[in-house]
Amino acid sequence: MATSSRPFSIERMPGFSLLALTCFFALYMPLAPLVVYSFNAGDNIALWEGLSLRWYVAAWENDLVQSAAIRSVVVAVIASVVATSLATMVALGTTRTRPYRGQTSIYAMVNQPLMVPEIVTAVALLIFFALIKESTGYHGYAYLISAHTAFCIPFAYLPIRARLEGMDRVLETAAADLYATPWRSFTRVTLPLLLPGILAGAMLAFVISLDDVVITEFVKSAGQDTLPTYMLGQLRRTITPEINAISTVLLGVSVVMVTIIFFLSRKKA
C-alpha cells in the first residue's frame, strides 16, 4: 500500500499521459523543421547554412508566387463573403423556427460538401465546368469562385447556426413590442447579437478557401494557380526553402485566424 508514492486517483490511467504528451509532441514536431529551414541561408532544405530572410525575399519577388498569392486572397475574400451571406440567410431560415417540410433536406444540402469526398466533388465539377466551357467559351474565374463559395457554405453555416441557437427571442419580441419594423429589429437587434458567429463563420470560410488544394487543382483553368496548387506543383521538382517560406507564412495566417475564431466563439451570447 505504502509503496505507491502517489495517492490513488480514480482518473489516472497508467501510460495515458505519456501517450497524450507524445501525441502533442508529434503534432508540432514536424512543423519545426519546416519553419526553421524557411530562414536558411543555403539552397537546401537539409543543410543549415545560417540565418537569412533570403527565401522570403525570393518568394516575394517570384512573379508566379506573387500572382498566386493575390489570386488566393481575392478568391478567398469573394468566396467567404458570399458564402457567409448565404449561410447567414440559411441559418436564419432553419434555426429558431417551427419545424417545416423540407427542413431536413435543406440541412442535407448545406452539409453535403462535408460528406462527399473532396476528390469526388472536384471531378464532378471538372466534368460540369468542361461542358459549360465548351458551350460558352468562357474560361474566367467564375468557376473557381463558385466552387469555393459552395464548399465554404457549410463551414460558415456551423458557427452562425450555433450562435443563433443560443440566442433568445425575447429581445426581438421586445423590439417588435416597441413598434420596430421587422427589418429594423433585424438590423438593430438580431444582427449585432449574431455578429460574433458571422465573423467566426467568415474567417473559417476564408481559411478553408485559402487552404483548398484538391478542388482548385481540378477546377482551375490554365494560369489560375493559387498558392496551394502552386506549391503542389513545386513539390514534384527539387524543393528549395522557398516552399518553406510560403508554408510558414500560410501557417502563420491560419494560426492567427484560428486564434481569433477560438476567442470569438468562446464569448457567450
Partner: protein
Amino acid sequence: MSAEQDSSTESFESLEAHAYQLEVRRNLLLSTPALIVLFCAASGPLLIMLVFSFLTPGDYGGIKWQFSTEAWFQVAFYRDIFDETVSIADAHLSIFWRSVKLSFLTTLVAFVLGFPTAYFIATRSPETRNLWLFLVTIPFWTNLLIRTFAILEIIRNQGLVNNVLIALGVIDQPLDMLYTDIAILLGMTYVYIPLMILPIYASMERFDFQLVEAAYDLYATRWRVLVRVIVPLVKPGVIAGSILVFVPSLGAYVTPRVLGGGKHLMIGNLIELQFGQGRNWPLGAALSLSLLVIVMVALIFYVRSAQKEGGAHGH
C-alpha cells in the same frame, strides 16, 4: 353565441395557420440562394457525373455521347484489347484494397493515440482544458498540404527522423521511408488525428467519474474500468471519430500523391489518372461514384449505430 365563438376560434386558427405559412415561406426564401449555389457547384454536378459514367470515352479526353456500361465494367474487370478476354482488373482492385487497408490502419493508429489524448484533455482542470483543446485545433485548421509537406521533410533520407536515428546509432544507413505505404499511413494519421481526438473528447467531457469510482469500489482493475466502463460510455464519440478519420482517408488525394510518390496510388490518385494521362473520363466518373458509394455505406453505418446507441440510452 356559440356559433360566433366557433367562428372566432376558427378565424384564430386560420390566422395561426396563415402565420405558419408565412414563416415557412420566409424560411424557404432565405434558404433558396444558398441552395441554388450548392446545387450548381456541389450536388448537381454529381448527377452529371452519373450520366458521364454511362458514356463512351472521347479520343483525347472528354466523352462521346454514346451510351455504354463499359466504364462500370472496367472498375472491376479488365478486357484485353486484342483478344477481348476478360479478367479481374488487378491494378484497380489492388488500389481499392490499399485504400481500404491504409484507411483502416490510419483509423486504428489514430484511435490508439487519440483516445488517451482525449482522456488526458478531459481529465485536466477546466481552465487548462481549453488550452490543450486549442493545441489540437490549430493543426486541424492548418493547410493539409503544408502538414503533408512537413511529414515529407522529416522522413526524407536526410530528414530529421533519419538524422536522429543515425546520431543515436540505431541505424547506420538512412531508412527509405518516403514513397512507401508506411509514409502514406504516417502522413494520413498525422493529418487526420485531430478528427479522432475532438469527438472522443466531446463525449468524455460529460463523463461522470462517479461511475469509475463505483467500479473501483466493486474491485474492478484499471483495465476493466477502462474496457467495461469508460469505453462503452464514450462509444458514440469513438464511432464518430472513427468515421471522421476513415472517410477522408479513403478519399485522400494530396497525402498519397506527395508521400506515395506516384507509385503507391490510392483511389483518389487512380481517379485523377483518368482525367490526366489515362484519359478515360467515364471510367474516372464510375470510380468516383464507387468511392462515393463506399463512403455513403460508412456514413449510413454510422447513423444506424448512433441511433442504436441513442435508443439504448433512452431506455
